[in-house]
Symmetry: C2
Subunit: 242 residues, 2 copies
Amino acid sequence: MQAPKLSIKPTNCHDCRMSTLCLPLAMEYGDLDRLDKVIQRTKPLHKNQSVFYAGDAFSSVYAIRSGSIKAYCVSDDGTEQVTGFYLPGEIFGWDGIADDTHKNTAVALETTAVCEIPFNKFEELSASIPTLQRHFMQLMAREITSDQQLITLLGKNSAEERIASLLLSISGRLGRRKLSPTRFRLPMSRADIGNYLGLTVETVSRVFSRFQASGYIKCDKKEVEILNLSGLSNLVQTCAEA
Amino acid sequence: MQAPKLSIKPTNCHDCRMSTLCLPLAMEYGDLDRLDKVIQRTKPLHKNQSVFYAGDAFSSVYAIRSGSIKAYCVSDDGTEQVTGFYLPGEIFGWDGIADDTHKNTAVALETTAVCEIPFNKFEELSASIPTLQRHFMQLMAREITSDQQLITLLGKNSAEERIASLLLSISGRLGRRKLSPTRFRLPMSRADIGNYLGLTVETVSRVFSRFQASGYIKCDKKEVEILNLSGLSNLVQTCAEA
DNA sequence: CGTATGTTTGACCGTCGTCAATTGTAGTGG
DNA sequence: CCACTACAATTGACGACGGTCAAACATACG
């Protein structure tokens, strides 16, 4: 576990290495300063701590600086549904905008640092920074298209295709952050994966074993190494690549 | 509460009976006039005509005045995935915002009238009408939460639960438009339903037959009458009620 | 009227869920 | 250091739900 460096000069949007991802690229520096005043950096969450709960009033969206987040909602009968995993540089919390109430609970899968983006201040700001509004809508739209890809996956694809797809998704998202796309640690449990993909733990485990036997991956618990990326890709049919 | 009648004969946002749904409720009349200048009403589409195709440049979102729309995307290997059905008063086309390119094709399931809302003009306008921006984000967020409900449905629920859920969804959406929630005509084919819900045509057909045998519904082809609404509801577990 | 398409129903079978047992891992305290 | 517990992960056996294949029928459209 890496110790949080609280005493050093607090990070801001200027030197956040993710700013190009979670902020409009075209924004001028003057605007960035204004935005920086709005963003709140909270102290790191540790594993199993929640950012917000389903039913909470919506006030902010959140960007991940490090770590990972699981979003899930709970139905009347108490069963959970994992709706997404979020990795560094990604933004979550949109689900609360519809009626100012979060539909999901967001929980840290490991020690995780997030930036809080208060939504009312953002709204004021975006009136004077036109690109900001468009950018946020694009981020929301990205959530929509990724949800729709998941819908396709759940509706049409086999267990192997779903898991291959998840591995490739994580691989691609890490790669975009300049992290290794072939060696990484899955932050979520097999149960979370199964829940997310509409499969049972047993099936997830079996597919991992089969993938390993086929030489697609090598894995020890949560540590994964992708040995045959193109092989995995061939297993998957996506609706449209992200 | 009546707006002054303008001499223009074509329908406009003032006397559109759906304006409370697709436009901000809090908007003052002066603003509504400005918005009305932006909205474009196109001539009705007939069945199988497309509003836009996957790959088209994104320029507008669309509100349905009458009729119904099916949105779907096509994967590399040519298989379709239906991503949504849209009924009167609902808005579609958000999928293009992410990168200015539509991911879906939108096609009329029957004779359908839509309003086109050019997005760049909307963006200008929303800078001066603050509620408009919030409202649009809420509509997008609603798309997100409804997609996530579908994800739950596909991941966890049986064929019967999925179809019951779809029937209830349509029923509820029609009810909100002051249309009969118990007697309606399904605008889409069994194949579309199956595609949307991740089932085969045969399964869809069998479930309809079973529902009819159990007295939940009465249906003749696409005409459906819900006889036991609470019975259907008991079959379904939703993540969070809409 | 003929062809294409949509719908229904039946028979069979494969994938994945269920149930169960075993092993491995993490955390706690003696 | 080793029990001891709790939980995560793996593997096997079996069965059900829903997909596949096939055929019959209804409906729409040129």
